[in-house]
Structure formats: C-alpha cells, structure tokens
C-alpha cells in the first residue's frame, strides 16, 4: 500500500480556487457523502470517478450550491466571495452560480429550456446577471455558442429539435457565457455516440487550454476523465478512496477499488 503521505505544495504558491472540506450529507439512512474534501487550483481540471451511487454527482451538486450538505465548508478564492458558501441564502447562491459557476448536466433537460431558442437559453444566463441590451445579449450568446463550436445557423432552433451532441454544446455555451471561474461537468458526454463524444471532449479540452478555466468533471467513464483531467479523485460509497495525478491513478492505482475500476476498463 501507499507508504508515503504527500507534502504540501512548495513551489506552486497560488492559492486553490476551490477548497471543500469535510463535506457530509445523508438522505435518511443513506450516507451519500462522508467527509469529502477537495482542492482545485486555478486552471486545473479535477476528475471525479466512481460508479453509480458513489456520491460523485451529489458532491458536484453541492459545489453548484444546489444541495446543502449536513456538514462541511466550501470556499472559492475570488474577489468579493467570502466565507463558507454553504451558508449563503438562496438569492446570494443564485447570483454566485449565475455569475461565477457554470454547469453542464448529463441530461440537457436539467440545464435548458427545451422549447426556447438555443440563443435565448444562453442569453438567459446573461439576463440573470443584469444585461438588458438586446444587441449585447445576442452578440454574447453568439460568441459563447461559437466558442462551444455550435453551428451558428442553428442558433435560433430550440434544443428539443437538436441532436444530443448539439444540446450539450448549448449547455456548454450557457455555462461559459459569463466566463465563469469554475466549470462543473456532470457526465457531459454520457449517452452520446462515441464520435460525438470525442468532439465534445475536444471542445472542452480546447476551451480549457485557451481560457484556463478551472473544471471539475464527474464521470463513470475513465476514458473521459483521463482525457481531460490533471488530477483524479476516486469515490466509493460517498467517500474518497484515492486521489493523485491522473496518470498515476490510472497507471499505478493504490486502492483495491481503483484497481478494479482500471482493470475493468475496455
């Protein structure tokens, strides 16, 4: 087993953008999260893997302030953002999420109004943040859709008429429209055809490199996590069993459960 505990950072002096400590959450008798802690540095991509029920999506929803845990703290190192974000009231949460945090869900119905135009879905995010000028809304929506590699000739089509891959691009455009400090991705390519999945992953990788967006991505698909992540956290039954550099966790997994996961990959 791992003999060594790792040192604190010595050369990298920037503070983590995201710090979550000892987050716990139960639903009745089920402990969904048990003392989960994570740090993510600016520009870094943290991948969270684990099977269904491991708590990884619950943790992501906590980071998006959709869920309030029973215990734990969560902070973002941003100007004008202080204290434990779990303590914020509903209005403050909504503003913080609209302006600083973007999210892409596996199920586009959770993130989009399926019968409104795609450009309108993206612009809605800007409206929440206070933008009212029509031309600015349209221009910013167009830019975000373009950055997500969405075909602009379809920008007025409602998501319901689009393919799964295109719906994910609309979600992504909405998520990045306000240039968030943190982008959360919950199984963003699960359910897409493999070729479409590769294109969406490529778009994410490109955005990450060009804009240095800090990301947390949750997936049960190790290939997706491996493609995007700098570091990986492995969850099982609500707890973190292992974390490390992505190549290390995949090439030299320490925990029995991680070894099973890695060996089970095709």
């Amino acid at each position: 087993m791992t003999a060594m505990t790792m040192d604190a950072p010595r050369f990298v002096e920037t503070k983590p953008l995201l710090t979550a400590r000892n987050v716990s959450k139960s639903y009745g008798d089920v402990q969904a999260l048990c003392d989960v802690s994570a740090t993510v540095y600016p520009g870094e991509v943290l991948g969270i893997v684990g099977e269904s029920g491991s708590g990884k999506s619950t943790f992501l929803r906590c980071l998006n302030l959709e869920e309030t845990p029973d215990a734990g703290s969560y902070s973002l190192d941003l100007p004008d953002v202080d204290g434990n974000l779990f303590d914020l009231d509903r209005y403050a949460r909504r503003m913080l999420c609209a302006t600083r945090i973007g999210i892409v869900y596996q199920n586009p119905h959770l993130g989009l109004l399926m019968n409104h135009s795609s450009s309108g879905n993206v612009a809605e995010r800007l409206l929440v943040a206070g933008e009212r000028r029509f031309e600015v809304l349209r221009e910013k929506a167009r830019n975000a859709l373009n950055a997500s590699e969405f075909p602009l000739d379809r920008m007025d089509a409602p998501p319901i008429e689009l393919s799964g891959g295109m719906q994910q691009r609309v979600q992504l455009a909405k998520a990045i429209a306000l240039e968030p400090a943190l982008l959360l991705l919950d199984e963003p390519t699960t359910g897409l055809d493999v070729s479409v999945q590769a294109l969406v992953l490529d778009t994410l990788k490109r955005l990450q490199q060009e804009r240095r967006i800090t990301m947390v991505i949750v997936s049960h698909d190790l290939g997706v996590i491996r493609t995007l992540s700098d570091r990986v956290m492995v969850m099982r039954r609500g707890a973190v069993v292992e974390q490390g550099l992505a190549d290390q966790v995949f090439q030299d997994p320490q925990h029995e459960y991680t070894q099973q996961l890695v060996h089970a990959k095709l």
Partner: protein, 246 residues
C-alpha cells in the same frame, strides 16, 4: 564551445528508492526494484540496463511520479530549490513537468482534431512562449525530424507509426528541460530520424540537460552515455565506474 552550466551541479539524488506493486485481486505483492541509489549531474547521460522485467521502465515512471515509490527519496534540484519527487504535492509535480522534467515515450498520445504542429507547439505554449513563436519552433522541429511538410497541419491520429513517433519526439524534445527521462525513444524510427534524435539529445546534453534512458539498442546512443546502472538483481553495481563504454 564552453558549456554555459556547471557540470558539477547535481540534478538528481536518488536515495534508497524502492518500488513494488500490490495486486489486490490476487492478494500478492510484486517487487519492482529495491533500495536504488544514484546521483546525476547536469549534462550527464545515465543508461539503465537490465533484462526484461528488471524494472527499467518502472524506475523511469517512478522518477516521473506516474508510479508512487514505496520508500526512499528522489531529490530533484530544480531551479526553485530541492524537492523530493517521491512525496511532492501533485501540483508541484505538474508544475515541474511543464517546465523542468520531460518524459519521452515510444508512443504519441494524439488527440482528435489537433494538428501535428499544434501538438508539437503545446509544451512551449504551456511554458509561456507566445503562440506564434511556439508554432514557428514546432515547424522547425517537425522539419528536423523529417515529418513531411504536407503533414504539419494534418491530424496525427491517422499517421503511420513511424510518422507519429517523429511528431512525438519533436513534441517531447522541443522544450529544453533540466531532466529528461527517455523510455526507448529509438523504437520504430528510420535511420535519418534516429540521427536527428541523437543530434538533438547531444545538443540538449551539451546545454546541461541531465538524461536517464532505457534503450533496446544502447549502441544507438553510445556516444552520449556517461554512466550506466544495471538493474538486474545481483548485478554488480557500476554507477561508480567512470570508464564504462558500451
């Protein structure tokens, strides 16, 4: 030409490094190597020898932190100070991989829809070089390794194994590093690409890059080798000898 660096400057000081693998599904332990110690100075080239399974690649990966050491120290003398890579924070390791420690493998990790020149330029861009500059240097190295000009803007996912390996080397060697780990980089290379590789390694070495390499045919790099270590268990330790010639 007089080297611009101090030949006595230590780069790596490995002390009592031990690595094994626990295979939980079998309930077994497999030792890889045990209690390895050696030093490496700027501009030195160390060859790892040993029969298959002796742990040569495992040692390289442990030094790069793709594998976790069981015990021992990997003291890396970076430009920021000395750090033990065996237990350095992940973010510090990531940072050093972008700036001071390189790893050259036999295979290119191509990405969909990323051109050969963009892939080669990437390490420079990540280290802070302006995009135009990085692209220009990338083209220079693609040319040097003999990748056809018509392929520079194409996606390497569809290239032959040999062409992919040239792109891989251009990418891995574009940014001069303080420490370079080489895992059989000459495999599947044609004669002229091999010559280009050896030229580039010699140039990096002359400028102070310390190297540790595993080669199927060490004769390929004979003129670069300063010292060697045999990882075969019970092999006589040779790291103190100065007169080794392959």
């Amino acid at each position: 030409m007089t080297p611009q660096f101090n030949r006595d400057a230590p780069v790596l000081d490995v002390r009592g490094l031990t690595k094994g693998f626990t295979m939980h599904h079998l309930g077994t332990q497999m030792a890889a190597f045990d209690d390895i110690s050696f030093q490496l100075r700027a501009g030195e080239f160390l060859l790892l020898k040993g029969r298959n399974g002796a742990g040569k690649s495992t040692l390289l990966r442990t030094l790069y932190r793709s594998y976790l050491a069981d015990s021992g120290q990997i003291l890396f003398h970076s430009t920021h100070g000395v750090i033990d890579l065996a237990r350095a924070a992940d973010v510090d390791v990531s940072f050093l991989r972008k700036t001071e420690i390189g790893f050259v493998t036999q295979f290119l990790t191509a990405r969909p829809r990323v051109s050969a020149e963009a892939l080669v330029a990437e390490p420079l861009r990540l280290s802070g070089v302006a995009a135009d500059d990085a692209l220009e240097q990338a083209r220079h190295w693609l040319y040097a390794f003999g990748v056809k000009r018509t392929l520079w803007a194409a996606y390497p996912t569809t290239f032959s194994g040999g062409e992919q390996q040239k792109v891989n080397l251009a990418r891995a060697l574009i940014l001069p590093q303080r420490l370079l780990l080489l895992d059989e980089p000459t495999a599947s290379l044609d004669v002229s690409a091999r010559a280009a590789l050896i030229d580039r390694l010699a140039e990096l070495k002359a400028n102070g890059t310390a190297m540790i390499g595993v080669f199927h045919h060490p004769g390929d790099v004979a003129q670069l080798i300063d010292r060697e270590i045999d990882l075969t268990p019970d092999a006589k330790a040779q790291e103190e000898r100065e007169d080794v010639v392959v």
